[in-house]
C-alpha cells in the first residue's frame, strides 16, 4: 500500500510538471467550464421564456371571454416543456424534440419546434456541452496520460529496475491509476464545484433537492466511466509491445467508443425495430379515428349512443333526455379518440424505447453508449422523460375536454340553443403543473446502462491487473 501511494505521488508530481499535461488539462478544464457557463446562461434564458409563456397561455385561457365550452376546448392551451436544472450539463435529446405542444379538442398533437432546426449544420459536427467534454474529451485525456504508463517504463529501461526493487505489478498498476486519478482531479474537482454552483444557481426553490440525487448518480457514473477508461488504458499499455502500438490501439478504441459505436447502434436499432414514417403514422391514426376501433363509422357510433341513452333514461326523443346529447356525444368521441391515441402514440413511444434498449445492449461493446444514456437520463433530457412530460400534458388535455363536455352535458339547454360559459368555468380547470420524475424512477430505467458502466469498471480493473502480471519486462 505504501509503495502504491509512493508511485501515485511520483506519477502525480511528474504529470503536474509535464507541460503537455498542463496544457491539455487546461484546455479540457476551460472547455468544461465554458460549456457549463454557457449551459447555465441558456438554461436561465430558456426557462424564463418558458415560464412566462406558461403564464401567458394560462392568462389567455382565463381571459378568453364568454364562449361555448366546446369553442374553448378548441381554443385550448399550450404546454411548454420545462427545463430541469441539470440539463445545463447535458442537453441530451432536447434540441431534437419539440418544445411545445398544443392541447386542443379531438387531437393529441405532436411536439413542435425542435431547437436544432434553428441552428446551422455545424451543430451536427459537435455541440459544446458538459456532456461532450465529459464523455469524449476527458477519456481522451486519460488515454494520453496513461498509454505509456507501462510501455514507456519498459522503453526507458526503468521497468526492470522497478521490479528488481520488489514492486509488484499490481502495486505499480494501482499506483499509476491513482496518480492519473489525482492529476485528473486537479482539473475535474474545480469543474465539478463550478458545475454544482451553476446547477444551484439555475434551480428555483425546491429544485435543488430534486437535482441533488440526480447529480449524485450522474457524478458517480462518470467516475466509474473514467475509472473504466483508466483501467483499459493501463491494460493496453501493459500488453502492447510498444508505446506507439498502445497509443494506436487506445485511440482506435476511443474513436470506436465515441464516434462509430453510437452510429452503428442507431442503425442496428432502426433495422431491428423500424419506426413508421410520419405520413404512415398520421394516416393510420386518421383511419383508426374515422373508423372507430369497433369498426363502426362515427355516424353509426353516434346513433348507437343516442339509442342507448334513450333506453337508459326511458324516453323517446333526445329533447326529453335529462342530459345534453351533444355534450355526451363529444365526450364519447373524445373517449374513442383517446383509445386511438393511446394505441398509436403508445406504439410509437414503445418503438423508440425498444430502439433505446438496443443501444443499451450494444453498450457492452462500447461503454460510451451506456454513459450517454445515463447522463441524459439523470440530466432529465432523455426520451423517456420527454414522454413522461408528453403524457402529463395529454392527461391535462383530457381533463380540459372532460370539464368542458361535462358542462355541456349538464348545463347546456337541450333545445340546442347557444350556451355560453364564462370565467367561472375556465377557472374550474386548474393550471397545468408538472413534476419531473424522481432520481429513483430514472435509475430504474437506466439500470441496464448502469450495469454496463459498473461492469466495465470492474472488468477493466481485473484486466489491468491481469495484463500487469503478465507484462514483459524487456
Amino acid at each position: 500500500m505504501k509503495m502504491t501511494l509512493l508511485i501515485a505521488r511520483k506519477e502525480f508530481t511528474e504529470m503536474l510538471r509535464d507541460g503537455r499535461f498542463r496544457g491539455a488539462g487546461a484546455i479540457v478544464f476551460t472547455l468544461l467550464a465554458g460549456a457549463l457557463l454557457l449551459g447555465w446562461q441558456s438554461h436561465r434564458e430558456v426557462s424564463a421564456q418558458h415560464r412566462s409563456a406558461q403564464e401567458a397561455t394560462r392568462a389567455q385561457w382565463l381571459q378568453q371571454g364568454k364562449k361555448n365550452p366546446h369553442s374553448a376546448a378548441h381554443y385550448g392551451v399550450y404546454a411548454f416543456k420545462p427545463q430541469v436544472p441539470l440539463s445545463l450539463v447535458d442537453h441530451g435529446t432536447d434540441p431534437y424534440t419539440g418544445v411545445a405542444v398544443w392541447l386542443e379538442a379531438h387531437k393529441q398533437n405532436e411536439f413542435k419546434y425542435r431547437p436544432a432546426q434553428d441552428a446551422t449544420a455545424v451543430q451536427r459536427l459537435g455541440e459544446l456541452t458538459g456532456a461532450t467534454v465529459l464523455q469524449l474529451l476527458v477519456p481522451l485525456l486519460i488515454v494520453l496520460l496513461t498509454f505509456s504508463a507501462f510501455s514507456g517504463e519498459r522503453e526507458l529501461g526503468t521497468l526492470r529496475q522497478l521490479f528488481s526493487l520488489g514492486v509488484s505489478p499490481a502495486e505499480l498498476a494501482a499506483g499509476k491509476a491513482l496518480g492519473v486519478a489525482a492529476a485528473l482531479g486537479v482539473w475535474l474537482v474545480p469543474a465539478a464545484i463550478l458545475g454544482s454552483v451553476a446547477i444551484v444557481a439555475a434551480s428555483g426553490g425546491g429544485e435543488v433537492m430534486a437535482a441533488a440525487p440526480r447529480a449524485g448518480w450522474m457524478g458517480l457514473s462518470y467516475l466509474l466511466y473514467f475509472g473504466a477508461f483508466t483501467g483499459v488504458s493501463l491494460a493496453v499499455s501493459a500488453w502492447a509491445p510498444s508505446s506507439r502500438v498502445a497509443l494506436m490501439v487506445l485511440l482506435g478504441f476511443w474513436m470506436m467508443n465515441g464516434l462509430v459505436a453510437p452510429r452503428v447502434a442507431a442503425d442496428l436499432a432502426k433495422s431491428q425495430s423500424p419506426s413508421p414514417s410520419a405520413f404512415a403514422f398520421a394516416q393510420q391514426m386518421q383511419l383508426a379515428l374515422a373508423k372507430g376501433s369497433d369498426g363502426h363509422d362515427p355516424g353509426a357510433r353516434a346513433k348507437a349512443l343516442e339509442t342507448e341513452l334513450l333506453k337508459k333514461y326511458n324516453v323517446d326523443r333526445p329533447e326529453a333526455l335529462p342530459v345534453n346529447l351533444l355534450g355526451v356525444r363529444l365526450q364519447d368521441s373524445e373517449n374513442h379518440g383517446n383509445e386511438v391515441f393511446d394505441e398509436s402514440y403508445g406504439a410509437l413511444w414503445e418503438n423508440f424505447a425498444a430502439q433505446n434498449r438496443i443501444h443499451q445492449r450494444v453498450a457492452w461493446m462500447a461503454p460510451g453508449l451506456a454513459m450517454r444514456s445515463i447522463s441524459m437520463g439523470f440530466a432529465g433530457t432523455d426520451f423517456a422523460q420527454h414522454t413522461h412530460f408528453a403524457k402529463a400534458a395529454e392527461e391535462y388535455r383530457r381533463m380540459i375536454q372532460r370539464t368542458m363536455n361535462e358542462e355541456l352535458t349538464h348545463r347546456a339547454p337541450k333545445t340546442g340553443a347557444p350556451h355560453l360559459a364564462g370565467p367561472e368555468l375556465w377557472n374550474k380547470v386548474a393550471p397545468f403543473a408538472y413534476t419531473a420524475p424522481e432520481a429513483g424512477w430514472v435509475a430504474e430505467r437506466q439500470a441496464p446502462a448502469l450495469g454496463v458502466v459498473a461492469g466495465w469498471f470492474a472488468g477493466s480493473i481485473l484486466l489491468a491487473g491481469w495484463a500487469a502480471r503478465r507484462i514483459r519486462v524487456v
Binding site: L38, A100, Q117, T120, L136, S275, F279, F383
Partner: protein, 479 residues
Amino acid sequence: MLLRLMTYEWRNLSADRTPLWIALFLGLTMAYGTWNGSQWVSFQRETIEAARQEERERLEGLRREIPLVEAGERKVSAFTDPRLPSAVGRGPGARYVVMPPYGLGALAVGQSDLYPYYFKVTTGSKQTFLNNDEIENPVHLLTGRFDASFVLLYLFPLVILACSYNLVSAEKEGGTLALALSQPIALPALTMAKLLPRVGLVISMPVLLSLGLMAAGGGDLRAEGAGIRLALWVAITVAYGLFWFALAVAVNAWGRGSATNAMVLAGLWLLFVVLIPSVLNVAVKAAYPVPSRVEMIQAMRVAGDAATRQGAHLLARYLEDHPEMAPAEKGGAPDFGTLQVAVNEATERAVQPVRDRFDAQVAGQQAMVDRFRFLSPAIVAQAAFNDVAGASAGRYSHFLAQADIYHRQWRDYFVPRILRKEKLAAADVDRFPAFAYREEEWGQVAGRLGVALLGLLLPAGLVAGAGWRWLGRYPIAGS
C-alpha cells in the same frame, strides 16, 4: 531516383499489407455508409409516393363526390360540402409540395433528416402546415448518421494520419534516414517519395468507391447537374485528404519522435473535427441568439385571438381593399369560410415580423458559419458534402421559398372563389394549382462548391509549404 524510391516504398507498404487493410477498412465503411444513405433516400421516396397516392385518391373522391352532391343524392354540411371552395381548399382538395431527394442523396444525409421534405398546402396559414417533421428517434438525430460523408469527414483523416504520422520519424528512429540521405537525394524529395504512394493509395480509395457506388445504383446520375456535382465531390474529397497529408508532413518536419507526432496529430484531428466546430457553434449562437420558439407560439396566439375578435371588421376592410372579390349579392352575415380568409390573412400578417426575426437570426448564424468555416477543413467539407448530396439547409430554404410562392397561388385560386361564394364543379378539381420542385441552378451550387474547394486547397498548400521549409532544417542525426 524519385521513381525508384517510390517503388521501394510501395513494396514496403505491400509487405506489411497496409494497402489491403486500408482498402478493406475504407471500402467496408464507405459501402456501408452509402448503403445507409440510399436506405434513407428510398424511405423518403416511398413516403413521397404514399403521399402522392393519397392525394390522387382524395382528389378522385372529390371528382366523384361533387356530381352526387349537385344532384342532391348526398346530404352534406357547410363544412364538408365538396363544392364549397372554403371547405375544399382547407383540406379535402389540398395538394402536397414535395422536395424529392437529390440524385446523389445517398452520399450524405446531412440536414435532410431534420427538415420536412413535403408539406400539405392548404388555404390555412403557413404555420398550420410548415412543421411537418419526419418521425425519428431523437437519440438518432443527436447521434447523426453513418453515411459516406461521416466516413470521409471523421475516419478518412484518421486513416491518413495513421499511415503517415511516422513518415520521416520512423526512418530516423530506425536509423535508415541518415543512410538514405547519404545517397544523392534531399530530404524533401525523399519525403515526397514516401508520401506519394500513400497519397495515391489512401485518396484514390474513397474516390473510386464514391464513383463506383454511385454508378452501381447508389445514385441517379441522370439528375440535373449530377455529373458536375459528383466531380466536385471527388475534388473536395481529394483536397480534404491532401490537407491531412500536408498536416502529417508538417508535423513530421518538426523532427519529434513518432509517439509525439501521433499525439500531436490526434490532437489536431480533435481540434479541427470536433473542437473548432463545437466552439464555432457556440460562438454563432452567442452572436445571433435564436430565442425559444415559444415566443413565436405566443405571438401567433395573440395575433390569432385579435384577428378572431375583429373577424367581421377585418373582412369588411379586406373587401374594401379587394372590391373585385366582393360577393355578387350583398347582405347576409358572412359565413365561416369567408371570415376565416380574413382572419388567416390578418394573423399571418401580424406574425410575419416575428417569423422574419427568427429567420434573420438563423440566416445570421449561417452567414457567420460561412465566413468562419475556413478555420476548419472539416466544416468546409461537411457543408460541401451536404451541398453535393442536396442535403443542405440551403436547399431546404430554396424549397421553402417555392412552397411559399405555391401557397400564394393556392390562396389566389381559392380565396376569390370563397369570397364570391362560388361553387366548384367536378372539372375544377383538375384546375387546382399543382407544384413542381425546381432544383437549384447547378451553376450556383458549383460556385459554392468551388469556393469550398479553394478553402481546402489553400490551407493544404500553406501547411504543405511550411512543412517543406521545415524539412530543410530537419535534424537528421541526434534528437
